[in-house]
């Protein structure tokens, strides 16, 4: 099931065309191949799917949904949290309709 937790861009590597994003405290790298050059910048909110940035999310909307996720995830310890985040990101069926 796709939760689509918004991620915040921490840094951008223009050379490799990748970004490091932070999803609820879990950091990982994501490809920028699907995004127009220069369109993704530090502090932007984005949606990640199977290792790629799929699109940007309006900051206000992102913060709104992050509030909800935070409340739930606050109840988990670190390890569980990172598992949940990675599992969401990797929802293989997200290719689904």
């Amino acid at each position: 099931m796709c939760l689509s937790i918004p991620s915040k861009v921490v840094s951008v590597d223009r050379e490799k065309n990748t970004a490091v994003v932070d999803t609820m405290g879990v950091k990982r790298e994501a490809g920028l191949d699907l995004m127009e050059e220069g369109s993704v910048n530090v502090d932007d909110y984005v949606l990640i799917h199977i290792g790629f940035v799929m699109n940007k999310i309006d900051e206000e909307d992102a913060l709104e949904s992050l509030k909800v996720y935070h409340e739930i995830l606050a109840k988990l310890d670190e390890e569980e949290r990172s598992r949940v985040v990675l599992e969401d990101d990797n929802c293989e069926n997200r290719g689904a309709p």
Partner: protein, 375 residues
Amino acid sequence: MSELKLKDLYDGFRDPATIRMLAAQIGEAAKALHEPLRIMEVCGGHTHTIMKYGLPQVLPDNIDFIHGPGCPVCIMPKERIDHAIALARMDDTILVTLGDMIRVPGSQSSLAVERAAGRDIRPLYTPMDALKIAKEHPDKKVIFFAIGFETTTPMTAALLHAAIAQKVTNLYFHINHVLVPPAIDAIMSDGQAKINAFIGPSHVSVITGAKIYAPLPQKYSTPVVVCGFEPVDVMQGILMAVRQQAEGRAELEIEYSRSVTMEGNVKAQQLIDMYLQPRSHFRWRGIGDIPDSALELKPEFAHLDAEKVFAEVLPTEPIDDHKLCICGTILKGLAKPMECKVFGTACTPNSPLGSCMVSSEGACNAYYRYAGVLG
């Protein structure tokens, strides 16, 4: 806590007060309906939300859900999984694919069984890892079994793009990317299902834009609402559809405006167009052949196309689900899972006979787990 799954987390999005409020509004709006609203939710993710949160119970009787073709995992016909197995059995081969596909049964085996038997089959976290594996094993053929609807297609295109740019020659592609609009068209033009509204999945439209549904409202006089996956999103989407129907409108609307636009991700669409083209036929597990409902590599990339390069090892016979299985009828909106004679007995999530029970997003699977039919 260790057994906690994403699906449990999802509970947090169930705000009872909001859902009740929306249910009341829907009830009010539904009084003006001249005929019952039969809404098809195309995506298994929506089916899941609807069943898990018991949405039918809070909605008026004149609103009925019809479950659509669902998930890329459910609709993968057995012969395509047999392809993956045949490829994995070749010498000096590493077969790579995305998660769930590994569990799905083909006609005689599954990738999980093959892996246990010693074949080199690897789940990927991101398609880009296929490139890394190919570079690390120049002496092996690495075959990417690509699955998914419009949402994952651009990632495959990005991988193709990178492999070609970096002159990696031992990475091949078996393309199983399917398309939502032709499937809807097939179900509607069949005419039996009598669907009069759709909620469309948001993730597809993040890539394609909502515009892919633009012809439907006119062609079939059906409202289409592109909708998120949280229960509140689904309720909101239903309200929008009911209002349209009550006011005699049939339009394309976006509920999930926080990430969906009409145009979608244009860069991603261009990337797909560079490498992939419509495939004249694709057989959907449970539904059958639907013309132009999937993609294939363009002819100029035939040397990367596992279906062409390794054609001699690939079985060609179509293989149907079990005779008793009525998935096709369910996916066309003509029956509910409980009407199947083997539902919950010979067919369960642990030993699925048909596509609708295979993936956790399938209609039979969702009914099995949430409808409480089995107590």
